[in-house]
């Protein structure tokens, strides 16, 4: 049984059907004029062999201009699967995504460099020393592999998290470019039984991480049936460029038939037009070019239409994920993916705020609610992320889980039908006939059935705001709960066959 996700029966749409088609047509024009610049030779050869016009560009770096016809794009769209399965160590955590079904799965990520520790120092009132208050203090530091284990552990227990994208870049002294991938895959898979998605630091490690997954699920065929890992590549650098190394990774993953996200992240104002029509036409062209390439590599390769559009901040020209327009672009992209009936990887919840607090809550909830309502299948909703994509805070992830619980409840379909209304009319007549005229006794049959939304889980008992305190307690409680690690025998085989995994990650050996 796959995870249930959040089914959005009537997705929120910003664009009319005519506007969607206009964007599609504009994207098709972009792919032939000006076309894409590819820095990857193999991609050029593949596209050229299927009829794309190619010309070499003079300059320091070897590159080619590639013009992809609408016919080639549409043919690729036909072979791209409309349903993609993302497996999991625990089969109950499988994700099944249909491009024409707006059922939303909520996923963590992306990878941040900074881990935010929390402490609660006590402050004493200067004028009245009998009055004390505990105030959260956030301390940033470089992320480590232990942090990644903790994050995966807590996300295993967060009810609303459907899948796990690594949340923190591991920067321990004994982590190198050569062993980073195997360690981030093992740390995540060993502490979380949900689907795991990641980028690759080094293509040389692709065989090792795929072998690790095969050992966990029981072989190559088992991995095909239950793809517990998937990949994300930013093969496109906006505007309209195939990057050499990520395109190479993309081609290799497609060749192996493993699920992969074709992701593009243009920034309106700098790497894409500031106007909505412009960034939409461009990002759609970029994603379609990637999907086309993937389908030419291996027809039927499972790909997700990935979109991470963002608006530029006007004061720094950095990303402004908290801007209102960022949510607009993301919702537009969901509509475009629905148009092509492809499962969509979308983005919400990334905020500009540097620490948990009011700004963080407002920014992330704004986009979390709206983008979820548009019905993307795979919503990378930035559990715990702060300061755009650079900081991860476990406490924030715990808060996000509670907020998504509220969003899930809100998106339930109304239960209004004839039998229900008849029951309510009976109830109204009964209560009006009583002296007290209260409906309270009718609450009990539904009180514990899930039909009534819960109290905010971090509500304090006094007038003080205890949200952080209570969420911190919850975080510690989740960390204390056990997780189902990879079994001893499989762990031994992984350590035997796959080089570079840190010995301290072997829980069986380190316990001995």
């Amino acid at each position: 049984m796959p995870r249930k996700g959040i089914l959005v029966d009537s997705p929120y749409e910003r664009l009319t059907r005519e506007q969607v088609e206009l964007i599609h047509q504009a994207s098709m024009q972009i792919l032939t004029d000006p076309g894409l610049i590819s820095f990857n030779r193999e991609a050029v050869d593949i596209l050229h062999s299927h009829g794309a016009a190619v010309e070499s560009i003079a300059g320091d770096h070897q590159s080619w201009r590639v013009k992809i016809s609408e016919q080639l794009v549409l043919s690729a769209m036909n072979s791209a699967p409309k349903t993609v399965k993302l497996g999991a160590r625990n089969p109950d955590n499988t994700l099944i995504m249909h491009g024409d079904e707006p059922k939303v799965y909520l996923i963590t990520g992306s990878e941040t460099n900074i881990w935010l520790d929390i402490d609660f120092p006590t402050y004493v009132n200067k004028t009245d020393p009998t009055k004390e208050i505990r105030v959260p203090q956030f301390k940033p530091r470089r992320g480590t592999v232990d942090d990644l284990c903790q994050s995966a552990h807590v996300c295993e227990h967060l009810e609303m998290v459907d899948g796990y994208i690594r949340t923190v870049n591991i920067q321990d002294r004994d982590i190198t470019e050569d062993n980073k991938d195997v360690n981030k895959f093992f740390a995540s898979l060993n502490n979380n039984t949900k689907h795991f998605m990641s980028g690759l630091t080094s293509l040389k490690q692709l065989d090792n991480v795929v072998r690790m997954a095969e050992l966990i699920v029981g072989g190559k065929n088992a991995l095909e049936d239950n793809p517990i890992i998937s990949f994300i590549t930013c093969l496109v650098k906006s505007p309209l460029q195939f990057v050499d190394d990520t395109t190479e990774t993309f081609i290799e993953v497609c060749r192996r038939g493993l699920p992969i996200v074709v992701s593009s992240s243009p920034q309106a104002g700098t790497t894409a037009p500031i106007k909505e029509a412009g960034i939409m036409a461009q990002i759609n062209a970029e994603v379609l070019a990637g999907i086309t390439l993937g389908q030419l590599v291996k027809p039927g390769a499972p790909v997700l239409y990935g979109s991470v559009p963002v608006r530029a901040r006007m004061d720094t020209l950095g990303d402004s994920y908290g801007s209102v327009e960022t949510s607009q672009y993301n919702i537009d992209c969901v509509q475009m993916a629905h148009f092509y009936r492809l499962p969509n990887y979308s983005t919400s919840g990334v905020c500009d705020s540097k620490i948990p607090g009011q700004q963080s809550s407002i920014e992330r909830l704004f986009s979390d609610i709206l983008v979820t309502m548009s019905g993307p299948q795979f919503l990378h909703c930035a559990f715990g992320l702060l300061d755009c994509n650079s900081v991860f805070c476990l406490l924030q992830a715990v808060l996000d889980d509670a907020h998504f619980k509220m969003i899930e409840f809100f998106l339930q379909q109304p239960r209004i039908d004839q039998p229900e209304l008849e029951a309510m009319l009976k109830q109204i007549r009964e209560v009006v006939a009583t002296p007290q005229k209260l409906y309270i006794s009718y609450i009990r049959p539904v009180l514990r059935s899930g039909e009534i939304s819960g109290v905010y889980p971090f509500e304090g008992t006094s007038e003080a705001d205890d949200v952080f305190d209570l969420a911190y307690e919850r975080m510690k409680e989740l960390l204390a709960r056990p997780v189902e690690h990879i079994d001893r025998e499989t762990t031994a085989r992984i350590f035997e066959e796959i080089p570079g995994i840190l010995p301290r990650l072997n829980i069986y050996e380190s316990r001995n």
Binding site: P435, K437, I440, S441, R444
Partner: protein
Amino acid sequence: MSRDIITTIKENVIQGRKTQGDVGIDDSFAGTPGVVELTQQALESNISPQVIITQAFTAGMQVVGEKFSTKEYFIPDMLASAEAVGAAMDIMKPVLESANVETKGKFAIATVKGDIHDIGKNIVAILLKGAGYEVHDLGVDVPEETVVKFVKEKKPGYLGLSALLTTTMTEMGVVIKALEENKLRSSVKVLIGGAAASEVFSQEIGADAYCVDAFEAVKVLDAFQESQA
């Protein structure tokens, strides 16, 4: 037999099951007799009303209160239990009167003149009845003459006044003044409550206590009881 039925009544109080048709928290109680039917059985078995009240009703309500304070129970649970006990007290009334067993005290409650809001007042009435008080609900939009007349004739030990509106809260002071003028003030403890009321206002108009909610009303009355014991 006696202990078994008393235990079962107590369990049904905790479940908040007034009658056989009521749902409780635990599905295993479905279709079994509720507090009313069990109390009837207990009386027919000649079990002492005082045993029923102390070992089943009061002990059960105490558990309910504990569960409420630990947030396992919510107000609808608390009210269901109180309503179950209140209904059982109604069928025990003739037995109590013939045995000269007194209730915890007589409590009158009213929403004052000009105000028709009664949710809080009704909840207070249900909870106090469930806590063992004899409750007289005078209704809403009650003028001071009606309250004075009731106090004079029925002699309640406690009077609860409720007002939701800032425009009607002053009527609570009018009632207290009328009680003073009729030399009845010392015979009755006056508790006030409602969204418009406050501790400060309670002191200004000379009430005996301000109750922030219905549970506070039970605590305040129980505290008055203990101080008089």
